[in-house]
Subunit: 340 residues, 2 copies
């Protein structure tokens, strides 16, 4: 974990998704201080304060937004309110760190882009399925070390457990939730960009379905897409809400990276049918098969880098355009998806 | 292994691909007798006779084709000669069993269909990646037992080792080899049809590339496609010649089947980075994760069924239209593939 010498204070607005805990843990472990929290739901706020005893509950969003001590606002407010909140924060001189999906429309992306240009403030997105998964980060190190040559194809399976009765109503609406490719798919697209190092990506195919949740006609419980980079590498991903209850975790997330000289498989969260451990990475090269279990060995440099970026106005954690590009590709794939 | 009481004799014409050994082993284990072999290459013929001591080398194709004792001709003659040979065999009253790809063009498929209608003879294809893989057959049994509900999506990774210097020149040409989707892809399409039980399939996307073998401009070392059944299930497969030399077998073939109530993974030929055993099947349902290792436990009923079909004029092993349909979808996906 990278730490910074300077004091770095952040506040939280919006606890609609539990990802906020992952976001806060990452920032806290990297040395940030959590100052204040606001959510209109008093019970959620109380739970949050119990988890982070030093945090002060604020009376309103404004109280946090105008606090000059606070450098960054982290938010898991529901998706359709993220962009509006982020722009308010940036206009008040704060950097903003949103749960994914960061934006729901191409218009929101353009608003964020313009606001970033005008204010110089950051609008980062928590693409947890890469930046908060040591197996995923280790695979990237293997690629960067040249172990598999040029990345030619990436296949990602990203099943998620629905926990239907535990979800709020907005989760099932496209207007407030964004649709499955915009939501879960944006993670996969961000990984493809990161693993290929390319930003120019076209959508060759995308599709969504509602196979098993017809009482929510707007909901998508399945999505898939095929992407292509400018240099001809492709990505297939499938995202779904069909993780069976018998699986030992919320989803058997897998990534298969085919390179010109080797291949990598990441079993992110479980080694299904074998062991409960996570972050298993399987490398095959010209001379070997090798299994790595990297939990606790890689860390999550994104968070320390983000703090340092906010202090030094750099882009080490993630470039602003990379964030906007990943979300834009997801939204384009969502909008052009055929309904199965 | 199912055996038949009646004597069932077959002959072999064409040893261009080593798959002929798998085809013969399957038939012999199911009780057929291998009578005669012909290939224009005397060395290949000698090797074949050494492996199967009872077999008699013939002086020409005709000698086998007109032999009234022989019921079926098995052939791994090079792909562009298969259809012609098969039709000659059928016209002479023989059933025909070809290595995949069984045909290279839609016109060849139509010729086989008409010949089948006229003669009543069979033109079967060796879709080995399902019918000769116990893990793949076991997964089908799990599906048929209702373990995962309705099949919604199938993802197949089918890497193969190139062994570039060991391949004949025709292998690298599209006219004689058929292209990677027609060739290796036909296996994957056949599996999708078998696992969904559907025959109406459209091609939503397909692409091919020559990433690393530019000295053979016609060759495709990568292919991918997305298919959709009439009821809305989809399939993504990727096929390639990039198996790294460090892998303990020729390819880390995987199949992931997502059902409405559970999921299945098949690790066909190796448990990469873990163990050398094959036929590992991972089932996840509402109440459990379960690993099965099924080598030696399922057998290969296709071959006994095929012999029985030839004797009794039934379609238990595989329907003629299923064979033609799988090949037609592969050829359509190949023809419409974009070049990456």
């Amino acid at each position: 974990m990278e730490r910074t010498d300077k004091k770095f204070l952040f506040g939280v607005i919006g606890l609609d998704h539990d990802h906020i805990y992952g976001m806060c843990d990452g920032l806290l472990e990297a040395g940030a201080e959590l100052k204040a929290v606001y959510d209109k739901d008093a019970q959620k706020t109380a739970q949050f304060c119990q988890k982070y005893p030093g945090v002060r509950p604020a009376r309103c969003e404004e109280e946090i937004l105008v606090n000059k001590e606070i450098s960054l606002i982290a938010s898991a407010i529901k998706p359709d309110l993220r962009c509006g909140l982020g722009i308010r924060a940036m206009n008040l001189g704060k950097d903003f760190f949103a749960d994914k999906p960061g934006m729901l429309t191409l218009s929101e992306i353009e608003q964020v882009r313009q606001c970033h240009k005008r204010t110089g403030r950051k609008y980062m997105v928590y693409f947890s399925e890469r930046i908060h998964v040591e197996g995923a980060l280790f695979a990237q190190q293997l690629i960067e070390a040249g172990e598999i040559g040029e990345v030619l194809q990436v296949t990602i399976l990203a099943p998620h457990r629905l926990r239907k009765t535990a979800r709020p109503e907005w989760f099932f609406t496209k207007e407030q939730g964004g649709g499955i490719i915009t939501d879960i798919g944006s993670h996969q697209i961000e990984q493809f960009l990161a693993y290929t190092g390319e930003e120019e990506v076209s959508v060759l195919h995308s599709a969504v379905a509602n196979y098993a949740n017809r009482e929510y006609p707007d909901f998508e419980d399945f999505g898939e897409a095929v992407l292509r980079t400018g240099s001809g590498a492709t990505c297939f991903f499938r995202v779904d809400w069909f993780t069976p209850d018998g699986l030992g975790t919320w989803g058997d997330g897998r990534v298969f990276i085919m390179g010109s000289r080797g291949s990598i498989e990441i079993r992110k969260y479980i080694n299904v049918g074998e062991t409960r451990d996570r972050d298993n990475v399987f490398l095959v090269t010209a001379d070997r098969e090798q299994k790595f279990t990297v939990t606790g060995k890689v860390g999550f440099p994104f968070f320390g880098d983000l703090i340092s970026d906010c202090i030094n106005r750099t882009e080490k954690a993630m470039a602003q355009e990379h964030v906007l590009n990943a979300m834009a590709i997801a939204i384009r794939a969502e909008h052009t998806a055929q309904r199965l």
